[in-house]
């Protein structure tokens, strides 16, 4: 489909400008989401849900805890060479 020397072709995310737009819109969304918290009335089931920015903090901390525990605890325990079962 593409010519042989397609390495030179610039695709969407190869362009610094589009990356910049993406990064800024992402940051803007984060700020907006943090701010929205104060304008909505939450229907909570549990007291902890009422903490300010509960979902933001939970997601961030949960994600980091998940990735780091998988990397530093699970992987050393279970990782074997690719031909381990052969």
């Amino acid at each position: 489909m593409k010519p042989e020397n397609s390495e030179d072709k610039k695709y969407l995310f190869d362009k610094p400008a589009s990356m910049k737009i993406l990064a800024w819109s992402f940051l803007l969304s984060l700020v907006l989401l943090l701010a929205l918290e104060f304008f909505i009335h939450k229907h909570t089931y549990f007291p902890s849900e009422e903490w300010p920015e509960f979902y933001c903090v939970f997601a961030f901390v949960g994600f980091v805890a998940l990735v780091l525990s998988a990397k530093y605890i699970l992987r050393p325990l279970v990782k074997r060479r690719e031909d381990y079962y052969d």
């Binding site: 489909m1 390495e7 984060l30 979902y55 933001c56 961030f60 949960g62 994600f63 998988a70």
Partner: protein, 591 residues
């Protein structure tokens, strides 16, 4: 009832006829099967149909109610999508296996008695195994055998439970069973194995990534969802399921983080999503069951879509599927990439995508029941879904580092199949009332409230922020070519241990038996049986000869002749007869 057929029959008979049809018509014929099946299905009224008397029992091939109908609809839809996706496959083994497999799933869903249920349940295993073996690699062969053995064990467990249960209750009707006693526990575990419960799960993560590109689409849809259906039918509200489901949602996400093979990541993700369903069935309220069933429908679509996008990547990149080998494919496979992102958004429960309207029902049901710990586990698992399925799958295949691969876009039929699945992912998410109207119970749940939308969006964006910061700081686990041992270690390495134990014990026993029985015992019996006649005979004859006057060389000669006669078994008849007579006289005297 004469115009409609049992849904399973259309697929199974239709599937078995596939090899008879040649050329271009084959594709059209195969696509027609789910279409005809669907038209047939919507004409079947609710109720009990196709009752066949067998021995003293009634076999029911059509228990049609709202629960079985919904599974029937989605099984037809995913069959059509999977057949379209696989339309390039010329291998009839796969074509027949796929259709018979789908038919067996329909058989399970519409079975009204335990006997026909069990037969279709076992057919699921038998048909699906060919979708694994058809890859024709050494790894697929091994994984297929393990899959077969594990499912055979699960099937026997289920059969034992059914036999005990029928013996106790006297009825083979398949309805609510409930957990009480050994019989129901065995049935429960039999379902659990197909449902990939923790520790019973490794058949799934072992075999699905080894199956053929197109076979995995079928596999991801039927076996586990049939088990979800069976649990929803027989064990709703069983408390153990709440915890089993919660653990299922949580433990695979850790494995998914460090897994290199993207189809294996999706297999762990499959267990995680089925966990939400199992948990919902365990909670057992109307909303929870609705949540579990609607999530099963959505999962079939978005998991199918994700497997299809990864399959297209494999198809166009010479079967490469590891994170370490892929990256940057959005450049030349943009449509596959978009489909993959739609699947990822659906599984991550992004508002307007399908996961948002079904997973939240299970979580709300948990919250309504004041199950705080369960709710937190499910929320944590939702963050985990974002990590492995929402971000990792699209990122490592289509973005990330540029692998330099510039493959062609997926073929048209694959794009169409993915397009249909993607359409339903968005449709179910954006217009949930259609899906809700098909659920077993009336739906009062409203997914689109401002706090729910904002809360879920916050969850997604801040998880994404964590991903970006971890990646930029180099703290994300690097992708590496490795095997991560799971519970299948026990039988994969355990079988080696078993072999050695058997080798030492059984072959040791053989060696001992050889030495003692063959080497020594028979030799000594032989020696004794040669020696004793000689001792007996000479013991009688020597005094007799001495008495008759034989002395010196004469006596020595007699002894030598007798001994050689006995050794060569050529003793004179007179001596034999004399010994026999003495023997008889002795017996006579002793008695």
């Amino acid at each position: 009832m004469t115009e409609v057929l049992p849904p399973a029959a259309i697929f199974i008979i239709g599937g078995l006829l596939v090899p008879m049809i040649k050329g271009k018509w084959k594709s059209a014929y195969m696509l027609l099967i789910p279409v005809v099946g669907f038209i047939n299905l919507i004409n079947i009224p609710e109720g009990t149909h196709w009752v066949v008397e067998f021995m003293e029992y009634d076999l029911i091939f059509g228990k049609v109610d709202r629960l079985s109908l919904l599974f029937g609809y989605i099984f037809h839809l995913i069959s059509f999508i999977a057949i379209l996706y696989a339309i390039h496959v010329k291998d009839d083994v796969q074509n027949v296996a796929g259709l018979v497999y789908a038919g067996s799933a329909l058989g399970v869903v519409f079975a009204g008695d335990l006997f026909s249920f069990f037969v279709f349940w076992e057919m699921l295993t038998v048909a699906s195994i060919f979708l694994i073996w058809a890859r024709r690699t050494k790894a697929a062969q091994g994984a297929g055998y393990r899959y077969l053995l594990v499912h055979a064990a699960g099937g026997l467990c289920l059969l034992a439970g059914i036999v005990l249960y029928v013996n106790q209750t006297g009825s083979i009707e398949f309805g609510y069973i409930g957990l009480n006693g050994l019989a129901t526990l065995l049935i429960f575990l039999g379902f659990g194995l197909n449902c990939a419960w923790p520790l019973l799960h490794p058949w799934l993560t072992d075999a699905y990534p080894e199956a053929t590109i197109t076979g995995t689409i079928f596999l991801s849809a039927f076996t586990t969802k049939c088990a979800v259906y069976a649990l929803a039918r027989a064990f709703p509200g069983t408390e153990a399921l709440i915890w089993i489901g919660a653990i299922m949602t949580a433990f695979p996400i850790f494995y998914a983080v460090i897994e290199n093979n993207l189809r294996r990541v999706l297999s762990y993700s499959l267990i995680n999503q089925v966990g939400f369903m199992v948990c919902g069935i365990g909670i057992g309220t109307q909303m929870a069951i609705n949540g579990a069933v609607s999530h099963a429908v959505n999962d079939i679509l978005f998991k199918g879509l994700l497997f299809m996008s990864m399959g297209a990547v494999m198809y166009r990149n010479n079967n490469k599927i590891n994170c370490t080998a892929l990256g940057g494919l959005y450049r030349t496979m943009p449509l596959t990439c978009i489909c993959c992102i739609i699947g990822a958004a659906s599984i991550s429960a992004v508002p307007l995508f399908s996961g948002f309207v079904s997973k939240s029902m299970v979580m709300s049901a948990a919250a309504d029941g004041h199950m705080q710990i369960i709710w937190f586990i499910l929320l944590f698992a939702s963050v985990g879904v974002l990590e492995h399925a929402g971000i990792k799958i699209p990122f490592f295949a289509f973005f990330g580092h540029d692998s330099g691969l510039r493959p062609k876009e997926a073929p048209l039929h694959m794009l169409l199949a993915m397009g249909i699945a993607a359409f339903f992912c968005i449709f179910n998410g954006s217009f949930p009332s259609y899906l809700y109207s098909l659920l077993p119970y009336p739906v009062e749940y409203v997914p689109y409230t401002v706090p729910h939308v904002v809360g879920q969006t916050q969850l997604i964006f801040f998880a994404a922020l964590a991903f970006i910061l971890l990646t930029l700081s180099g703290m994300s686990p690097s992708e590496m070519r490795a095997v991560n041992v799971d519970a299948d270690w026990f039988y994969r390495k355990g079988s080696g241990l078993f072999y050695r134990v058997m080798d030492i014990s059984m072959n040791g026993l053989t060696r001992v038996a050889d030495r003692v029985i063959a080497g020594e015992l028979t030799g000594s019996i032989c020696r004794i049986s040669q020696r004793w006649p000689e001792v007996l005979c000479l013991g009688v004859m020597i005094p007799l000869w001495s008495f008759t006057g034989a002395r010196g060389k004469d006596l020595q000669g007699k002894i030598e002749r007798t001994r050689s006669a006995l050794q060569t078994h050529t003793s004179p008849i007179g001596i034999s007869a004399a010994i026999a007579t003495i023997f008889l006289v002795l017996i006579y005297l002793l008695m």
